[in-house]
């Protein structure tokens, strides 16, 4: 680890640096209140048949999903290589547990409310004039699911567990973080495709 830090040339000579404390649990337990509340919220909206609430959930959570992905990929991504290894580790140790809770929640609420909306509004019916656009959104979401479950989430988890080792491999964490951030950028850009489809559906 020391070699990795020395190689970066960012740590001041003679300065002592304390390794960021890994989270006590992989997932921050108080943070589980958010997915619990979000899932109850969307289920209540489904059961109540509240169209406006479903639309709110779909737009708000979908927008948050897009913005977080784009922010990670296009803002945090380019910043990371210019940060010192300890700053990178600090950021990762605080950011990644939050992402592990936030992203699956945003995705689940967006998809559940979206599916329910398409049933309620009838856009999922083959006879609906916008049916093709709904199919296009299925295709985009399908590919996004593959990137999220095949690259994004596995990388997120690998970073979290690597940080908990007695001697974490900083180089591996850096490599995995880059992969996470760039896959987030890919997801964010694909989200722009979804936004175009949704704008067409709403018009």
């Amino acid at each position: 680890m020391d070699d990795a830090l020395a190689g970066a040339g960012a740590a001041r000579p003679g300065a002592t640096w304390e390794m960021p404390r890994p989270p006590a649990t992989i997932i921050p337990l108080p943070g589980l209140a958010f997915p619990t509340a979000a899932l109850i919220f969307v289920l209540t909206a489904v059961v109540g048949g509240w169209l406006a609430v479903l639309q709110f959930a779909h737009v708000a959570f979908g927008a948050a999903w897009t913005i977080v992905d784009l922010f990670m990929g296009l803002v945090i991504g380019p910043l990371m290589p210019r940060m010192s290894p300890q700053a990178r580790l600090e950021l990762s140790s605080r950011l990644m547990p939050q992402m592990a809770v936030l992203m699956p929640t945003l995705v689940t609420v967006t998809l559940v409310s979206g599916f329910q909306l398409s049933l309620k509004l009838g856009t999922i019916n083959t006879a609906h004039p916008y049916h093709t656009w709904v199919l296009a959104s299925f295709a985009v979401v399908g590919v996004m699911a593959l990137v999220a479950l095949g690259v994004n989430e596995p990388t997120n988890l690998a970073v979290l567990f690597e940080m908990r080792k007695p001697r974490p491999d900083l180089e591996l964490i850096g490599r995995l973080m880059r992969r996470f951030i760039y896959s987030s950028a890919v997801l964010g850009l694909m989200q722009l495709g979804t936004l175009i489809i949704m704008a067409r559906l709403a018009s």
Binding site: I26, I124, T126, A139, G142, P154, F161
Partner: protein
């Protein structure tokens, strides 16, 4: 993502099967089947193509299990510890989806197909995510550090 993985922890480097690549293939087949089915709602399309895609996904999962079972020095303790928690999270999300399908009174055949797809995913998704953690641990690791 699709190449053979390497256990990078510890002194030894060991080739591991391409679990993530095969897992993503399985997921792609399963998602294609679901997309085909839901694109025909509220009608009841021929289930043949969807069942074919799901069978392909199930075969890919079985191949993954078989190839991973032969891996030597793999951190099985970490794999199962992580896998259990991922399965719990998956069960919550799959439960929500099931609720939506049942609540909307999907036809029985489509419902059965969707349940089967979620069952395949229940093995595939935790296996991919648990593998992605365990591949960076040595075989001696018995659980999460």
């Amino acid at each position: 993502m699709t190449g053979a993985a390497t256990a990078e922890d510890g002194a030894g480097r060991q080739r591991l099967p391409p679990v993530l690549g095969v897992g993503v293939l399985s997921l792609a087949l399963a998602i294609s089947g679901v997309s085909y089915l839901t694109s025909s709602l509220p009608g009841e399309p021929e289930l043949g193509p969807a069942i074919g895609l799901l069978a392909g996904a199930a075969v890919a999962v079985l191949v993954n299990i078989a190839s991973l079972a032969r891996a030597r020095g793999f951190a099985w303790g970490v794999f199962f510890t992580v896998g259990r928690w991922i399965l719990l999270a998956y069960a919550v999300i799959a439960g929500m989806l099931m609720f939506i399908f049942v609540y909307n009174e999907l036809p029985a055949r489509q419902l059965a197909f969707l349940v089967a797809t979620l069952a395949v995913g229940a093995i595939d998704v935790p296996m991919m995510l648990a593998f992605s953690v365990a591949r960076y641990h040595s075989g001696g690791d018995s659980g999460v550090p």
